[in-house]
Amino acid sequence: MILSGDPPRSRVLSILLVVIIAALAVTPLLFPGAKAMNVATKICIFAALVASYDLLLGYTGTVSFAHTMFYGIGSYSIAIALYSMGPNWAAVAVGVAAGLPLAMLLALAIGLFSLRVEAIFFAMITLAVASAFLVLASQLSWLTGGEDGRSFQLPELLRPGTILIPQDWFGFAVNGRVLTYYLIFIACAAMILALLRVVNSPFGRVLQAIRENRFRAEALGFRTVFHLTYANCLAALVAASAGMLNALWLRYAGPDTSLSFAIMLDILLMVVIGGMGTIYGAIVGAVIFILAQNYLQALMGAASNAAADAGLPLLPGLLHPDRWLLWLGLLFIASVYFFPTGVVGRLRNPSRKPA
């Protein structure tokens, strides 16, 4: 797409992406409710987060379990800075200035230490470091607030009470909350475009070569440990940035919202559903997953009631909202089975039969 020379390569995918981006761009104007705004923000943030994970998993073939750790580092650095320094822009700057280098140095250390050897070792190391970090974040209560996390105030400009454009000007109000949303939307779009640019650069092509045959890439003269380490650092930077945006939106950082392994699983599922090694797949995967997560329950409730009204047997029970996790699981199994290359892979090669 823009700046990268890598078009979506599928008309359906292009249309889908335009619709998604347009919908996200107008969400605050059309659906100003809290729930819709939260869902749209989560989609933006996770699209960027998943795209950065795709850089590792989809392009280099490296499995990392530490991605939520970098996400958490971003969240906590903003939260701790704003909590301890008060709601001002200097605190935001300090959070960014502390969080990004910390994430990058940690990624660099893990990379240089463990990417030399087999991929499974890297996966284990990331798992161990991420677990340690999670425990650390829960235990260092004086700094992180422990299990409760840290709530904080935003700078004046980003607060919901701050009216930037009153409702009577154009028919809709632009308050600090809407401004925060657009800040997140633009930042995430910029990060995804940057990642697209990277994967389509000569460097990005080497990453794919490493995924295909690391031994051969070495024999061609590429020192793959450096390529993998740079990719790891880059992914960590984007993940930390996404975490910062998440903290700004929630005005909170805690173990459950930014560090838990449940988020890691969500990221993995979004990458696989969207399509590994495409970056575009991150956007599609995030939209499908987060919409399902947030609206499937309501949809099922409606369907269950409709079935009950129609007097159908069994269906009302099966579609009961309490069963939503079962259906979500079935949905994922089905999508992985029918789209082994993800939605994007499927759209690009519609003729290819599932393996």
């Binding site: 650069s201 000569p202 092509r205 080497v206 051969r216 070495e218 024999a219 003269g221 793959t224």
Partner: protein, 254 residues
Amino acid sequence: MTLLETRDLTIRFGGHVAVDSVSCTFRPGELTAIVGPNGAGKTTYFNLISGQLRPSGGSILFDGADITQLSAPLRTRAGLGRAFQLTNLFPNLSVAENVRLAVQSASGVHYDMLRPWITRTDLIARTDAILDQVALGSRRSVAATALSHGDQRKLEVALMMALEPKVFMFDEPTAGMSIDEVPVVLNLIAQLKQDASKIILLVEHKMDVVRSLADRIIVLHNGQLVADGKPAEVIASPIVQEAYLGIAPGKSAA
């Protein structure tokens, strides 16, 4: 002038000595065929020179420097090119992309992440030229894994040529090729031979190929260098008749 030299090069796997104190020098402009029965240590010797294996003893000198401790990528950058015996490609990338990656490496473009690869038209043009040389131009957009065995062997050779090395190491380049595919590769090797600044090392079982191309033959047997000289002398020498041709009489007829 010596460009490449191995001194007492040795590697042991447990109690088995796969390459046993091989000392040999290679001069530019010379095509050396390395022959020997299966398991003689020919490919292991190659792996030691190109850096896939580290020796248990001895040293390797290249271009005036000791490269024994250098990693495989750095040896490739220094000018040691290697084509593998068992085809070793990027299976799901296109034929052109396989070659383009080698061209990219040869041009020193390793970490450029700021511009799209398609804007490097110089690399793409060079890729096209190499694909034409190995007669793979018409297969450029096919995934490497979808190529016929013979075409994969040609692609393997193309990757090495794209690196523009000083030393070309061919490990049975025509193995498993159909009769009509063999000349393309042999012509390529003959062309490379014209350049008097290059060293060509060739592991090959087909004696007619060895006879027609080689300036020199060295014979490995049980990891040891047992003969070294002009093709006619080496093939006629009793030690080769016994050690190589005697053990595997079928190979000489191939």
